[in-house]
């Protein structure tokens, strides 16, 4: 009987499965396992895995750490707002603050070197969206997310905010230089 009526066979459980239907289920099952395996495989062999390292923090604590790095390694400032451009040594911990409505400070990184980038927000959530790379990470207040990044191409990059954060959201754009 049709799908809007009760099954005509009382014991529908014993009806044989159509052959093509069965083949499709088998194929779909293998594909499901493949996709599951792919994520694990990438953790072992891939170079782009989002770090899990996260600490609870407070806005004040995080801001103080960022300020310390800025005080030590600022090389110049940019724009009318005097945003510091910070050139930290390779391998060091660097702190990026997301707040209404900017990313602070600007970093100047070396191509091929790895940095420990700490991300946190000062007010609402923000979205770290590195362009034109297209790497997108959610940034929470009170969480310090430590991502090890290794820039592979030189250039000027922008950090667009892609988590809605109020009326000035569209002006929240930061910058990273890779030399």
């Amino acid at each position: 009987m049709s799908a809007i009526l009760p099954p005509s066979e009382r014991v529908w459980w014993n009806q044989p499965i159509d052959k093509l239907e069965f083949i499709w289920i088998a194929i779909a099952f293998i594909w499901s396992l493949t996709m599951f395996g792919m994520m694990i495989w990438w953790h072992i062999y891939g170079n782009q895995n989002l770090a899990n390292e996260t600490y609870k923090t407070t806005k004040e604590m995080f801001a103080a750490k960022a300020q310390a790095v800025v005080d030590q390694y600022t090389v110049r400032t940019e724009t009318d707002k005097q945003v510091p451009v910070v050139k930290p040594p390779a391998g060091s911990d660097i702190y990026l603050i997301g707040r209404l409505w900017d990313w602070w400070p600007i970093y100047e990184l070396e191509k091929g070197k790895t940095y420990k980038l700490h991300l946190s927000a000062m007010d609402y959530m923000h979205g770290f969206s590195l362009q034109p790379q297209n790497i997108n990470i959610q940034v929470h207040p009170n969480y310090d997310h430590v991502v090890k990044i290794t820039p592979t191409q030189a250039g000027t990059y922008s950090i667009v905010c892609n988590e809605y954060c109020g009326i000035g959201h569209h002006t929240m754009v930061g910058r990273v230089y890779v030399k």
């Binding site: 093509l20 779909a28 099952f29 989002l50 900017d102 959530m125 969206s129 991502v147 959201h169 569209h170």
Partner: protein, 561 residues
């Protein structure tokens, strides 16, 4: 008041009069929400279309909040309540349990919907439908959602109660129909979903009143998406059930295998609640192990279920058509399908679009690492306009073409327009979903007023192709809006002014369902379905290619560890 029943002369279906009124009420409430959401869609798209940029930023975010809530929550859930009532009392030919309570629930839902809308249009609750903390809306924004959810929860219980009534009063024999089984799946997931919603929205409401000092933003996202994503599985279950229903109504199609289709629905129940992880793959504080297990619904068993439905629905149609003699070649059954019947064309466009556009993109961006390419870009709305608009909304629209004569007892006006409406709305939406995904692949943000970053000290310049994609999104969205508005107009006018149709016999006792005697022994062997298999293999090929192309793209990014 005694229960009465109406036998519809056009479909043979039997409606409990009280249930029938409730269904009409929910269908109409849903369409009104769709109307408001649709007007908002126009505001959204005319602002995101870079060449037009109609609204100022604050209005845009308000309108976008209203669009998300009226569409995703109010339109879809109101309609789903009608589907639940239909799949229980109508398909099982029994009385609805507790009709008075059902009215209380329905009124609660309407009050909730109005309250939240009022809060949004007062302007200080532009927090998007996700209402992420610590951004705060006015208390009645949350309260409206809570009331709406309570109403919906009550109707879920009435659905379950009606199943019990049917069983106790023996209005059917054997197992419940597959479509009712699908609705049961939706109902069970809905109960889980609404519970998650209560766990997070009630504290958030108290927080907005000042009784709670702080709500952790990560915890909010974890629990909120237990509501937000799992509720999408209600939609999937509901629209898959409708696919089966339309296939049954239009073709008399019978499921290829009751066992397979029911097991597939059951997999939804087992694994779908894990899916809140889809939205947390690029968040801090959660381990990769947790992300992988949850995002894949434990090894993609729910995706497996959808792939099964994706084959068995067209497979059932192919079998039915071949039994009618459309046996030539691989695709005569499909060519000779009633493409001018809007119920069928909506359903088929919904099926193909949901699978090819919504399904493939969803699984791709649900891979833990690939999500970093996509998170919060306009790819995400691109994906879910393929699922909730092409998948769910279009299926609901198709079903409505059937319901107007059967439930509202009116002839559908403008049959010429009805023929093309599914293509106008559906195909335009295909393009909208695709170009939004295209823009998202280039990085363009969702929920973003100005891609030119006016006033930003360090503006970024998107590539020209991104502007092109957003321009195309604008153009095709307008076409889709014409198709959607046309549907609303047509349905509303038909209900109000369409030719009245014969009501049918009214009785005071239900006629139980009697089935033809089981045909054990001499079962006709159903024909094979090679055409469907070819379609399925084309789908799989597209899926595999697209999936690995994105891994290739990921491998070109900066190193991250």
């Amino acid at each position: 008041m005694a229960t009465t029943y109406r036998i519809c002369p056009r479909s043979g279906l039997q409606f409990d009069t009280a249930a029938e009124k409730l269904m009409r009420f929910h269908a109409v409430a849903g369409v009104l929400a769709l109307l408001v959401g649709g007007i908002m869609a126009l505001g959204v798209i005319l602002t995101r279309w870079p060449a037009i940029k109609l609204l100022p930023a604050d209005t845009f975010y308000m309108v976008l909040t209203a669009h998300g809530i009226d569409m995703l929550i109010f339109w879809i859930i109101f309609f789903e309540m009608a589907v639940l009532i239909f799949a229980s009392s109508t398909l099982l030919r029994c009385r609805l349990a507790m009709p008075k309570l059902a009215w209380v629930a329905s009124i609660l839902m309407v009050i909730g919907a109005i309250m939240t809308n009022v809060a949004i249009f007062q302007g200080e609750s532009s927090v998007m439908f996700t209402s992420y903390v610590p951004m705060q809306a006015k208390p009645h924004f949350y309260l409206g959602l809570i009331l709406f959810a309570v109403g919906a929860l009550l109707i879920c219980f009435i659905f379950l109660g009606t199943l019990v009534v049917a069983k106790a009063e023996k209005t059917y024999e054997g197992s419940i129909p597959l479509v009712t089984f699908g609705a049961l799946t939706a109902c069970i997931i809905a109960i889980f979903t609404i519970a998650s919603g209560a766990i997070i929205l009630i504290p958030t409401f108290l927080w907005s009143l000042g009784y709670i000092r702080e709500i952790d933003s990560l915890m909010y996202r974890v629990v909120w998406w237990g509501l937000g994503h799992s509720s999408q599985q209600i939609n999937v279950s509901a629209h898959v059930a409708i696919w089966y229903a339309i296939a049954a109504i239009v073709f008399g199609a019978k499921p290829m295998s009751e066992k397979v289709s029911r097991t597939a629905f059951f997999l939804y129940i087992l694994f779908l609640q894990l899916a809140s992880a889809h939205h947390l793959l690029s968040d801090p504080g959660l381990s990769s192990e947790w992300k992988i297990v949850n995002t894949s619904y434990f090894m993609y068993f729910a995706v497996l279920a959808s792939m099964i439905h994706g084959m068995t629905v067209p497979g059932a149609i192919e079998q039915a058509q071949r039994l009618k003699g459309y046996n030539k070649g691989l695709f005569e059954w499909l060519r000779k399908a009633p493409w001018g019947n809007p119920a069928f064309s909506s359903m088929f466009l919904s099926l193909i679009g949901f699978g090819f556009l919504g399904g493939i993109s969803g699984v791709m961006m649900g891979a833990e690492q690939l999500n970093m390419l996509i998170h919060n870009t306009i790819y995400v709305p691109g994906h879910f306009h393929a699922t909730v608009v092409i998948g769910t909304t279009l299926a609901f629209m198709g079903l409505t073409y059937f319901l107007v004569p059967v439930l509202f007892k009116r002839e559908v006006l403008f049959p010429g327009f009805a023929k093309i409406q599914p293509y106008l709305f559906g195909l335009a939406m295909y393009v909208v979903a695709l170009v939004m995904m295209g823009a998202g692949t280039l990085g363009v943000s969702r929920r973003h007023w100005d891609m030119a970053f006016a006033g930003a000290p360090m503006a970024y310049e998107w590539p020209g192709a991104a502007y092109l994609m957003m321009g195309l999104t604008g153009i095709f969205s307008c076409i889709a809006i014409v198709g959607g508005a046309g549907w609303i107009l047509q349905i509303v006018l038909s209900i109000l002014f369409g030719k009245k149709l014969e009501e049918g016999e009214i009785r005071s006792t239900p006629i139980p369902l009697t089935l033809p005697a089981p045909t054990t022994g001499s079962t006709v062997h159903p024909p094979a379905t090679p055409g469907t298999m070819v379609l399925a293999l084309i789908f799989l090929t597209a899926f595999i290619l697209y999936y690995f192309v994105n891994w290739k793209y990921l491998s070109s990014l900066w190193g991250l560890s």
